[in-house]
Structures are given as structure tokens and as C-alpha cells.
Symmetry: C2
Subunit: 468 residues, 2 copies
Amino acid sequence: MDEVTFGPRNEAAIADAVARLSVMFGDRFSRSAAVREQHGHTTTRLPTQAPDGVVFALSTADVVATVRVCAELKVPVIAFGTGTSLEGHVNAPLGGISIDLSRMNAVLRVAPDDLDCTVQAGVTRKRLNEYLRDTGLFFPVDPGADASIGGMASTRASGTNAVRYGTMKDLVLGLTVVTATGEVIHTGSRAKKSAAGYDLTRLFVGAEGTLGIITEITLKLFGIPQEIAGGVCPFNSVKAAADAVIATIQSGIPVARIELLDADQVAACNAYSKLALKDVPTLFVEFHGTKASVAEQVADFAAIVDEFGGGPFRWSANPEERTRLWQARHDAYWAVIAARPGLKVTATDVCVPISQLADCIVATQEDIATSDLFAPIVGHVGDGNFHVQVMCDPANAEQTARVDAFVERLNWRALDMGGTCTGEHGVGQGKMKYMQREHGAALALMRSIKAAFDPDGIMNPGKIIPPA
Amino acid sequence: MDEVTFGPRNEAAIADAVARLSVMFGDRFSRSAAVREQHGHTTTRLPTQAPDGVVFALSTADVVATVRVCAELKVPVIAFGTGTSLEGHVNAPLGGISIDLSRMNAVLRVAPDDLDCTVQAGVTRKRLNEYLRDTGLFFPVDPGADASIGGMASTRASGTNAVRYGTMKDLVLGLTVVTATGEVIHTGSRAKKSAAGYDLTRLFVGAEGTLGIITEITLKLFGIPQEIAGGVCPFNSVKAAADAVIATIQSGIPVARIELLDADQVAACNAYSKLALKDVPTLFVEFHGTKASVAEQVADFAAIVDEFGGGPFRWSANPEERTRLWQARHDAYWAVIAARPGLKVTATDVCVPISQLADCIVATQEDIATSDLFAPIVGHVGDGNFHVQVMCDPANAEQTARVDAFVERLNWRALDMGGTCTGEHGVGQGKMKYMQREHGAALALMRSIKAAFDPDGIMNPGKIIPPA
């Protein structure tokens, strides 16, 4: 893979930082090879670049103390949540210090009256929803992994519910952030909207720790719907399924989840999650609302399925059956890995205007066939967003080159269709090469923000912004 | 009123800019006193500060040409849409050039399949919705005035539908912006979501022309609901009405509009818009959806009204009746002005967490009574956002001082309750004094963005960011 390199490691400064942090944090600072490797990138074929040491932070004050040492010495600082990002976000290409926020896992405040809460960055989405269960509220953003809320905010995560409830961009009300100088700032407020100045909240959301480190997040919550019905619906072709999705969105059905799995993905999920679906393109759907509204949505959706020759549409309001189905959907990544033992995964996502969705997926499937690759497709198609998970043998240079060329064509295809090179995974290292094409002259403004917030370039260097 | 002053006018540079723009634009550049006055602030008690000349732009290229002249000469540039802002956004405290975008009023593209469109900045919200009528789509953001989409994006406007459909922050997919150096950039994409880099779109939305001038906007659109039902519901007290709103939001009813008018505002609207409502605190509501869903929402809301002793709740699905009601709501500003002929208006808005709404309004009403002011309250209470329109005689210094002190207490009250000093009007000149209190250390980051994007400070100077 193309790799962008950034300046040399500053060995003396790193050694100094390691020595000082070791004294400051004692047991909560680790230099062990295993811990350092685990805090580099571990999820896809991108090479692991381990940090030089890991601070296990317990508080915003710990983050401040760590950043101040690193700022003084100009040593890179990389925030780490659960390590589930897919584009090398937590790698340390210049070395430096990883700040592991997973022990900052307190839910600080829940206000059922205001439908909001404040959490520390290390709280995971599942933990938050377990905590909320008794309040009748839930937080809908659900990337496949049980990611941390801080990581989800930093990568502008979304997931299966985004088509109805929005992404992290929409659901973060405010943040506590440690800046590159080790200052603590608060963005946003608990008001549902504001026109009071520049939207710093939205600037830190999706900045992948390159502008500051998010330590606390105030989130919008939602009432658990009175009625939830889910279902699966097979189609004869990916095109027919994608067209049914387009029609569903256009008709204004407030679908809560609408996910497309292609035949290879269905087969992998059948094997991994013990489902018994037909190995054909399949939509997983879910509807939320009152009893009457859900019944209406289901009926309207069934009519659309019929129009596109899909079916039978089997739905259920039974919670166990639903949970099993969506667990399988969330395990799609692991199902593909299990389908090709010993191979390495390249996980990529793109997002296009929904009118382009069917064409984009069909062209991508043709490309997969021509390229002779195993690359199941699954996606949040209600948003025009889909994932391709390409498997390959890293020892096979010819195959690896075919994978890289395919991924590049996929990203260019999405950009040519008016889309974006990533709907939800983020840029990290893997998508930097598409930034210039996607943003053009606007990239210079991104660069100027980075320079203004982090003049020494210590915050997660080598991510998002390619070298000028 | 406190006024923040910014450096002296650069007379020589301004004269030079005026001379050059006059040659470049001929008839489309005006120096007439009337035109200049009309391009300063005209809507509230804030003093008018007219620009030195007005360019009537027809294209992004015209904006580029104007900004390049002003950038070279370091002369202020102020974007102007319809001049309906309420906090002095279009004033020229240092003089300079106003760029009137109202002739850039083309709808460039509508894609019903993608539920989006692209418009020039001067298109007004009413013109857009007239244009869209045959497509079955609409754009929901509706500040009281028939503002331009560019102005609405720049002030992060919302309005009566925001409780259901979101604000400009949520509904702008992408922008064309002319930067402070006169370069054209494009932000966002037509994909519904993206995780590809810093969110420049959200940074320009709400920046009030201080970071660049928005010339084109890509917007999300919505299908016109199958069924719309509206109604009015009187209450015995503002507290009971606000509590009913809180209960409505908390119960998850997807209300499309829920507006509170206090007794003074109802009386003013009765007189101005020939309504025959009882002069008591009243909610205006509207529900959107399928026939079945709207019927369910109306029934659920009626039960809440009952619980809080309100009623009778009179509702109607008749379009003429609804239109008349909402026209009266949008004319609330003019109704208050008409109720006190000869007086000047101070229009302010704040937004608080919804749990604080009833307390904040009640305390504000007590303050109005104690201060012996005429100050009707109306607001988008489903978002915790409300407006107070205070009338006073500018020749009466004692009364004017009472108004200013009241407005200041109101803003501090909202901030003390975890809210914001403006939910939708924006900062302009009028709210700059609250920025430090609201944002604390984060204000320094806003200042650094301003310095990075506009190092010479020519883009709408004297707005948003108070002097350091």
C-alpha cells in the first residue's frame, strides 16, 4: 500500500517523554511490547505501528498531564479507545505516546427529562445502553464493534440506525476536549440548538484526535420505541434490493434500519452466526414507532418489496429473534474473516447519493468478479453507504496488488458519483490519498485549522491531512 | 447599548476599493445613501452602520472579484442576503463593501431521487418552496422573515419546524464558499453522510460571513407529508403550557411544530392578523405524517393537554385555516411592532435545556413585570428556544437602560441554566458580550480559526468574536 511518511522519529524527545511519564503514572504507564503492539492498528491489513508507551488515563487531568509533557517535548500523542478503527487511526507512524481512555468509563449524568447524558470517552456504546436500560432511553449509534463513545465521536461514526437517528455529527451536543497545549475546553451546551459562534463541536467530531483529545461527551438520547419490528427480505439481485431501498427512502417511510447483505455476505453470516437464510442478496430491516405506525410502515415496505420482485418478507416483533438477527449483522466483519481463515482483511467503505447506490454496488460487484477477489458487500444502504471487505493473502504480492487496485477504483467510483471516500470509517491513514481529490482547494483550509490548533503537529500525526 | 469598537476605518483603502469596484461593476455598484443605509442593520434598536458601497453580485465570480479587491486593499467585506437578521450582522462598523447576493436567486438543481437541491445564496425560503411545489418536496427551515438561504446558513437559522426536521446545521449537505483570499472552495458532498476529514460545512454554517462568503448551498429536502393537522390550544398559565410542551417532547410524539405565545403575544397577533383567540398563553401545534400517524399524534397530544389543564384543543387539517394560523405566527414580530407604534424593538432569543424551559420563561415573565416593560414572548419551545421582543422609546434613556439590563439578565439566566445566549438569531454584534461567558477557553480556538481563515480580518469584522 502507498504509505505517507512524516518526518523522522525524534528519539531523544520520545525517550525523555517515556521517562517522565513513567515516573508520573507508575503502573498506569506501560512500555511492554505486547501492550504497545495492542495499541497500534490491529484490525485490518494496514501495518501495525506501535506507540512507544501507553498511559492508562483515569481522568481528564491525566490526559492534560500527558499532553503537557508531550507538548513540551514535541512528542506525538494518540488517543486510544477500544482499538476497533479500520483505517489505521491509532497507529504511531512517528512513535509517541498512546493515551488509553478505556478506564475513563463512567456515565457521568443522565437527564431523562432532557433526553441527554454525559459520558467519559471510554464508555462503550453497549455499556451506555446497558446503563440506560432502566430509564427507557437508548443511544442509537452502533458501529459494528463495541466501540468507545470517544472513538465514535472522533471518527464521526454511524451504523445501522443512522438512517433514522443520525450519526455522531447529529447526536453530540457538547464535548470536553484537551487541546494540543494541554488546555481543557468545553464545546456546545445542553441546549438542543445554538447559533452562538463557530461550531467547535462538529469540528472535533470526526477530527480523529488530530485537533485535540475528546475526554467527555454530551449525547442526545431517544425513548425506546413502543414497538419494534424487524425482518429479512431476499431479492433476486443486488440491483433489485438497492432499488427497493431507494424507493423506501424516497417514499418517506421512517425506516430505522435498512441493511443490504450481498450473497457472499449472507453465506458468511449463515456459517458464522448459524442463520438459515437463502444465499441471495438480502435486506435486514427494522421499524420503530407506535404499534399503529409500525404496522403501517411494515405494510408500506412490503408493497415496495413486492414491486421489486423481492420476498418473501418475513418480519417479527419478537425481541429474541430480532436480537439474533442484528447480532449476526454486527458480526458480519468476523463472519467474513472466518470464511477465509489465514487471510488478512482490507475493510473499506464509501458513501454515494442514494440515486447512485444501485449503479455503484453493481459496478463494484462486477469489478470484484473481474478482479477475482473474495469481497462481500454489506452496508447501511438507506444512507447510500456500503462496506466492502476484501480478503487476501499478504504473502501473495500479485493478489495484494489486485486488492489495492480494486479498493482504489472503488473509492474513485464513489467520488465520481458525487459521493465520499468514507461514510463512517474515517480517514485515518488508509484514506488520506483521496483527500485532495475529494476536497480540492478546501483541503488547504483543513490544513490551516490543523496548523492553528496544533502548530507542532503532535496530535495523532500522519492521519487525515496528507503532507502538503 | 455596549458597543465593541474595532480599530479605525481605513479611509484611503476604502476610497480605493470604492473607485475600483465602481469601474468593475458599473450599474451594479451603488454608493447612494439610501442603498447604503438599507444595507446596514435595519431591523432592531441596534444603530445602523452603513457600508461604503454595495456590489450587486450575479455570480460566484462577482463575489470572487469583489473579495479580491478588498483582500488586496484590506477593506471589510460584508455579505448581505435580505437584511432580516436581528443582531446587527450586516452592519459595517469599520465601513467597507457590502456584497448583496439577492440577485443570485437561481435554484440550480433539484434531485427528487436524492431528496436534495442546490441553490444560489440569494434564493429565499419561500421562493425555494414555491419552486419545489410540483415535486412534492419541501424545505422546512422557516425563520419568521422570508430570509435568503445563504443568510439562513450563515446564521444557523432554524424556525418553527426545527423541532422535527432540524436546523440549517442539520440540513446543509455542502457549500460553495469564497474565502478571504477570494478563492472558491466546495465543502461536503452529495452523500448523506461522510467521515472524510474536518467538517468545514458545519464550520461555515453559523459563521455569519466572518470566515468566508457562502454563494451556493446544497440542502436536504423532505417529502410533503401525506397529512398535516394543525391546531391551537389555550392554557391557564405559561408554566402549564411549557410543561405540556416538555411532556410532549419527552413522550416522543414527533410533533412538527410546537410554538408558545404568551398572553401579550396572542393579543398582538389577534389585533395584527385578525385572529379571535383568547388572550391567554397558547400553543400553536402541527403534526405531520400518514393519516393514521397524525390521528394518533393528535390524540396523544390531546391527552397531554388535558393532563396540564389546557384546552379546548381545536385542530384542523384544513389547509387555508392552517396557513392563516402560521402566517400569523410568522408575523408575530410585526404584530408586536404594530402594538406599540413609534417604539423601537429589541429582539432577543435564548435557548435552554427543555427541563429548564418552564422555569426560564416564568422567571423571565416576572422580570418583565418587575421591569415594567412590554415584552411579548413567543418561541420554538419544543427546542427550549424562545424569543422576547422588548419595545422601548429610544429617546427615553431611563427606559432604554431598563431594557438593556433586562436583556442582559435574560441571557445570563439562560447561560446559568446550561443554555445558550442564542438559539437561532446568531451573535452578530448584539450577543458578542456573552461569548466569553458561554465559551470560556474555547473562545480562543474560535479566535484562532478566524485568524487562520482571515488573517487580515476583512470578513464581516466586528461580529461573533469579541476583541481579545
